[in-house]
């Protein structure tokens, strides 16, 4: 490794602009003649829109226009799509209700837009919105899964009888039934995976500009995947053709999944910019983020695990109800199916698995991928189950896990996934040592004497990342391929630009990707510019989610560099009058092995562009492109152990220690990787202890601000102890697996397992607030 190459914890290239206030987020951008949009949103969870009277608003100062849902339908702007087709187990396709960008007739969740006011300033738009009179006829609403599937429940969409989107299954039901009939022990568990609000710190925003002369649109937007946004906007929403639409996602302040989707507000901004012939800006406020950003999780599950007399797992049966909210968001259908049920084997040898997933409409905000997306729900279920089983079978939870670990690879699970490599025992061993598991009984005893309840909890998670082999996901219903592209441009003076279809919104790609170049070409990272987030610069790409950017996007960069290097070697061999096979690249120079002859990269680049002396028939220039389609998912895994104390008088939980041991394969920048783990752990712990979106029975979100929804603060969290036990991924040349979601996937089970260990019984839902923990200790009296 060089000082800036693979494995070096170099500080981030992008940081200087952020720490000096020079970051450029969408809301920081101003265009000439820009107007401001403010949406009029339904206060009701379910209602008919009877009338919209904007006559007074239209006469108010600074008002440019009031546009309604009916107008967007009349202009034939397409309804929002879901990009992954899932069929029920009876073979019928998923039942998708229509979702117009603004509701012309019926609103199905509180916060759904019915109209938009465009005005000279944001305040004038807000003032005018107050004067628009919308008449609603309220309809009965269903706010949770139980209410939605009750016989006689109010119906959301005529397309989906009983509010059921699909009733899907995976695995061998008969084999599972047979295994259960022969089992020595059966452990069962009911679980709720609480609904979360992603809450990236930068609220969503969009600025749309229509250039009448060119008949061309530009959209600045807070997106994790600007090319996917352009594709969907042009192919499905009929707003602009792909070559007449430029999508720019500049600095984006966090995503966590919530900025994957193409939301109604971006569609309306684009459409409205052509209608009013002026740029239109919309910046969401936090209240709008709570009401309209796709939420995450929200599962209710029943799980049963069968063991033989030696405590080996013989089968797993799971039935999950997933709340989709009022509409099917872009990737909602894939989350509780192919991103969830396919991970239910966990780290364990489980001969047979059967999982049913019933997706349900409710009058709530749509639900989609949020950091981990299906995998946290699977991991939480399996790891709560293993801890529950250990207690029921009266064996040590570490021993039960170890006995059932998969130890030979590749390993085909009964639920599609083929794990390529791992060493689950190694991660657990390091974690046990780091937390001093052997000393825990003495620490628990000591705490007891001090009046505290101490507990320890495990979570041995696995996830499928590097999303994903296009052919595989295509066969499972995905509407897009999930490859990645890269272009490496060596400029005539030897500086390098790398164009990637991945998008960085905090992950540090500008540094990590530059390190890949530094490693191979020996140039300093200051000479490398990573270009992303602009569809006019980068030809195409699938964006950033599912911990895919390095394993898929990074590999595309490597593939493009290989082509650049091959051409560079040809040029160098020609100039040095040597054989191409004798040329090696070291420290920014092309060298003839075994001699002192060399030529620096800038000279090779200059020769490529002057083209005065190139090998016969060679094209000038030094720029190459690669598209990389992965051959398999990657499988990051790890062992997390949480030790904590519960105050039985208050129900408050305090961390004693939190150990996270991960296998991400090769680490490019360990400092950045550890930062990703810290953030993921905070979100997993947030889910376990603090966070939860709560609706009342009428469908009002009662946790719709930072005053009501508990975001983790600095003093809610411990410092974390991290270690790595890498096994190199065989599926890509870098040997990397992905690290972005691990913490959020693994942490919550460790915390709940620790609290239930401390309080001595298992009935505790997330978030385990002091109130809930106190009641769990003292009963409901």
């Amino acid at each position: 490794m060089g000082v800036e190459g693979i494995g070096a914890s170099v500080v981030r290239k992008e940081d200087r602009r952020f720490i000096t206030g020079k970051g450029r987020y969408v809301d920081d951008i101003k265009l000439q003649g820009m107007t401001h949009a403010h949406f009029i949103r339904s206060p009701h969870a379910h209602a008919k829109v009877k009338n919209i009277d904007s006559s007074v608003a239209m006469k108010m100062p600074g008002v440019v226009g009031v546009l309604t849902g009916q107008e967007i339908v009349d202009d034939k702007v397409g309804n929002l799509i879901c990009g992954w087709a899932i069929s029920s187990k009876d073979g019928t396709p998923m039942k998708m209700g229509a979702w117009p960008a603004m509701a012309p007739e019926t609103v199905r969740f509180a916060g759904q837009a019915v109209a938009v006011v465009i005005a000279e300033t944001k305040n004038l738009a807000k003032d005018a919105a107050e004067a628009v009179i919308v008449t609603y006829e309220e309809l009965p609403a269903v706010a949770d899964i139980a209410a939605a599937i009750r016989p006689g429940a109010p119906q959301l969409h005529p397309e989906a009888p009983g509010n059921i989107v699909y009733d899907w299954a995976i695995g061998d039901e008969a084999a599972v039934k047979d295994a259960f009939s022969k089992a020595a022990n059966i452990v069962s568990l009911d679980l709720t995976n609480n609904r979360l609000v992603p809450n990236a710190m930068e609220p969503r925003a969009a600025i749309a500009e229509y250039n009448e002369a060119e008949e061309h649109f530009t959209l600045y937007t807070t997106s994790q995947n600007p090319h996917v946004a352009r594709l969907v906007l042009s192919a499905f929403y009929n707003i602009a053709q792909e070559h007449k639409l430029r999508v720019i996602a500049p600095d984006v302040g966090g995503g966590f999944g919530s900025k994957i989707y193409i939301y109604p507000e971006e569609m309306v901004a684009l459409w409205a910019s052509k209608k009013v012939r002026r740029p239109v800006k919309w910046t969401g406020d936090r209240s709008e983020a709570f009401l309209t950003d796709a939420h995450g999780r929200d599962h209710v599950s029943k799980a049963e695990m069968a063991f033989d007399k030696d405590n080996r797992i013989v089968a797993l049966r799971v039935k999950t109800h997933a709340n989709f909210g009022a509409y099917m968001s872009l990737f909602s259908s894939a989350v509780p199916t192919y991103l969830y049920a396919t991970l239910l084997s966990g780290q364990y040898n489980i001969p047979s698995i059967y999982a049913e997933v019933i997706a349900v409409y409710t009058n709530t905000t749509p639900v989609d991928a949020y950091r981990g997306a299906g995998r946290p729900e699977a991991s939480f279920l399996i790891e709560r189950m293993m801890e529950t089983a250990a207690r029921q079978l009266k064996v040590d939870p570490a021993d039960l896990r170890r006995k059932n670990f998969i130890t030979t690879f590749p390993h085909q699970t009964p639920v599609i996934m083929a794990y390529d490599i791992g060493d689950f025992g190694a991660s657990l061993d390091v974690a046990l040592k780091a937390i001093d598991y052997a000393g825990f009984p003495a620490r628990k005893e000591k705490a007891k004497k001090e009046g505290k309840l101490r507990g320890i909890g495990f979570s041995c998670y696995i996830e499928a990342c590097g999303i994903a082999p296009s052919k595989a996901v295509g066969s499972l219903g995905a509407g897009v391929g999930l490859w990645e592209s890269a272009e490496v441009r060596v400029n005539p003076v030897g500086t390098i630009e790398v164009l990637t279809g991945s998008h960085s919104h905090g992950q540090g790609h500008e540094t990590t990707f530059a390190q890949l170049v530094a490693e191979r070409l020996g140039v300093p990272i200051s000479q490398v510019q990573i270009v992303h987030g602009d569809t006019d610069k980068v030809q195409f790409g699938m964006g950033t989610y599912g911990s895919r950017s390095l394993a898929v996007g990074g590999t595309a960069i490597v593939k493009a560099m290989e082509k650049v290097e091959a051409k560079g070697k040809k040029i160098a061999a020609h100039l040095l009058e040597a054989s191409e096979g004798d040329i090696v690249i070291e420290n920014g120079e092309f060298k003839v092995t075994g001699t002192d002859k060399s030529i620096a990269l800038p000279m090779v680049a200059l020769a490529a562009y002057t083209a005065h002396n190139l090998p016969d028939g060679m094209e000038p220039g030094l720029k190459e492109t690669a598209f990389y389609d992965p051959t398999n998912f990657t499988f990051p895994a790890g062992a997390y152990i949480c030790e904590l104390e519960v105050d039985s008088g208050t129900g408050k939980t305090s961390f004693v220690n939190f150990v996270a041991v991960d296998d991400f394969g090769r680490l490019i920048n360990p400092m950045i990787v550890e930062g990703q783990v810290h953030g993921g752990l905070a979100q997993g712990i947030g889910q376990a202890l603090l966070e939860g979106a709560v609706y009342d029975s009428s469908g009002q979100l009662v946790t719709a601000s930072f005053m009501d929804y508990t975001m983790p603060r600095a003093d809610d969290l411990p410092s974390f102890k991290l270690s790595h036990t890498p096994t190199l991924c065989p599926g890509n040349p870098l040997g990397v697996k992905g690290c972005g979601e691990a913490g959020a996937i693994g942490a919550s089970a460790a915390v709940i397992n620790a609290i239930t260990d401390a309080i001595g019984h298992n009935k505790l839902e997330m978030p385990a607030t002091p109130d809930r923990v106190w009641h769990a200790i003292h009963g409901n009296a």
Binding site: G253, G254, G675, R713, S719
Partner: protein, 161 residues
């Protein structure tokens, strides 16, 4: 409408504004100081923290009328030319930021924390003092490290002056 006169990053400035305008919007919309961010609408998140007369204040809690005559320092005003403030450098060196959105507010709060505690800080104190600033990316682990590191750097810098 009112005319507001104040000092921002050492320069005297004025603007004619609606009375309901908040200081954060004055800075962002009128003076193009877009490093100060808006992350919520309930004064919880701290992304908009600036210094008013040397004290950390959430600029979304200040009406422009209240800012008349005050001395405001924003994230754009704390480095000396190309030389970063020790807190900025500590955030970079300890990977105390990821998406960068909460970072300006974090840095402005953290400088005030170090000043108020005369540089005498431990982890628990830093975590408690940061409760008015929300970060969704870092899990605070490296922010806490950054602030503790900067407390030392600021002491050295002060001694040198």
């Amino acid at each position: 409408m009112s005319t507001v006169k104040l000092t921002v990053n050492g320069k005297g400035v004025s603007a004619d504004l609606e009375d309901r305008t908040l200081l954060v919007h004055l800075l962002r919309d009128h003076f193009n100081l877009t490093g100060t961010h808006v992350g919520c609408d309930t004064s919880q998140c701290g992304a908009c923290v600036v210094h008013i007369d040397g004290r950390a204040v959430k600029s979304c809690t200040v009406l422009v009328g209240q800012a008349n005559g005050v001395n405001v320092t924003t994230i754009e005003g704390i480095s000396k030319g190309d030389e970063l403030h020790p807190m900025q450098a500590a955030f970079r060196d300890n990977h105390g930021l990821q998406c960068g959105y909460c970072t300006p507010g974090m840095i402005m709060s953290a400088i005030d924390i170090v000043h108020r505690h005369s540089g005498q800080l431990d982890e628990d104190t830093v975590r408690h003092e940061l409760e008015g600033n929300i970060c969704r990316c870092t899990g605070y682990h490296n922010i806490v490290k950054s602030v503790l590191d900067a407390a030392g750097r600021m002491k050295v810098a002060q001694a040198a002056e």
